[in-house]
């Protein structure tokens, strides 16, 4: 196996807590090399949800940036979104019609292979992994 097939590729982006940051975060996903289109599409949704979540529930201080990290290896894509917001958890139950909230993390959890939330300093760290579906 050549070196280019084994090495990982990392991307990082700092984003202001503003709705337009969500599209910018998706652009970073599209920049991941050697990742199948279908998987990129799923990661776009996951990242969109996690950054949206950080904007909706995070700090209102515009200087508290949201940090997005992506790493593509030949077998898996890992990502992390860090914010400065209050703690939150991943809902276990599916969303209910007429009730607000909970959709984004529920969808992320279904699309990702793993989704974990941790606290770091004054904020949250949400980690995910995603791999191509076995067909």
């Amino acid at each position: 196996m050549s070196e280019s097939e084994t090495e990982s590729f990392r991307l990082r982006l700092s984003l202001p807590s503003h709705p337009v940051s969500v599209a910018a975060a998706r652009s970073l996903v599209r920049a991941l090399p050697r990742t199948p289109d279908e998987l990129l599409g799923e990661i776009e949704i996951i990242v969109s949800e996690l950054v949206t979540n950080a904007i909706r529930h995070g700090s209102l201080n515009v200087e508290d940036l949201i940090e997005l990290e992506l790493e593509a290896t030949p077998t898996v894509v890992r990502g992390c979104v860090r914010d400065h917001g209050a703690p939150f958890s991943i809902p276990d139950a599916p969303p209910i019609d007429g009730e607000d909230g909970g959709f984004g993390l529920f969808i992320s959890r279904k699309l990702a292979d793993s989704l974990t939330i941790g606290r770091s300093g004054t904020g949250n760290e949400v980690w995910f992994t995603a791999t191509p579906r076995a067909s």
Binding site: P19, A23, I45, E49, P95, F103, F106, I107, K110, L111
Partner: protein, 107 residues
């Protein structure tokens, strides 16, 4: 002012049907304006039913999905039936992933 993302809303009246076609990326940046535009179209019409055509939506996440649900509720509040025109694509996939396909009626 920062540009709030790209989407378009086109409204076309055919007989008793108001067809509202959405295009672009439906996320948190366009959620509120999208709902406002569709509400406005619904408020002005004397059509009997609304088709919300999402065939050319290129991206949607839970914020866009929430906007579609608010459009559905706005039509319902005016006594109008709202159906989705949704071929295979991003919207269909998200409805399936979220498990909410049954929350809408379809064209």
């Amino acid at each position: 002012m920062i540009h709030e993302g790209t989407f378009t809303v086109e409204v076309e009246r055919t007989g008793e049907i108001l067809r509202v076609s959405l295009a672009g990326e439906l996320d948190i940046a366009v959620e509120q304006e999208l709902v406002a535009r569709v509400r406005e179209a619904i408020a002005e019409t004397d059509a009997r039913s609304v088709v919300l055509d999402v065939a050319t939506v290129s991206f949607i996440d839970s914020s866009g999905l929430r906007a579609l649900l608010m459009c559905r509720d706005a039509a319902q509040a005016r006594g109008l039936a709202l159906v989705l025109a949704v071929p295979d694509g991003p919207v269909r996939r998200l409805l399936d992933v979220a498990g909410v396909a049954a929350w809408f009626d379809y064209e």
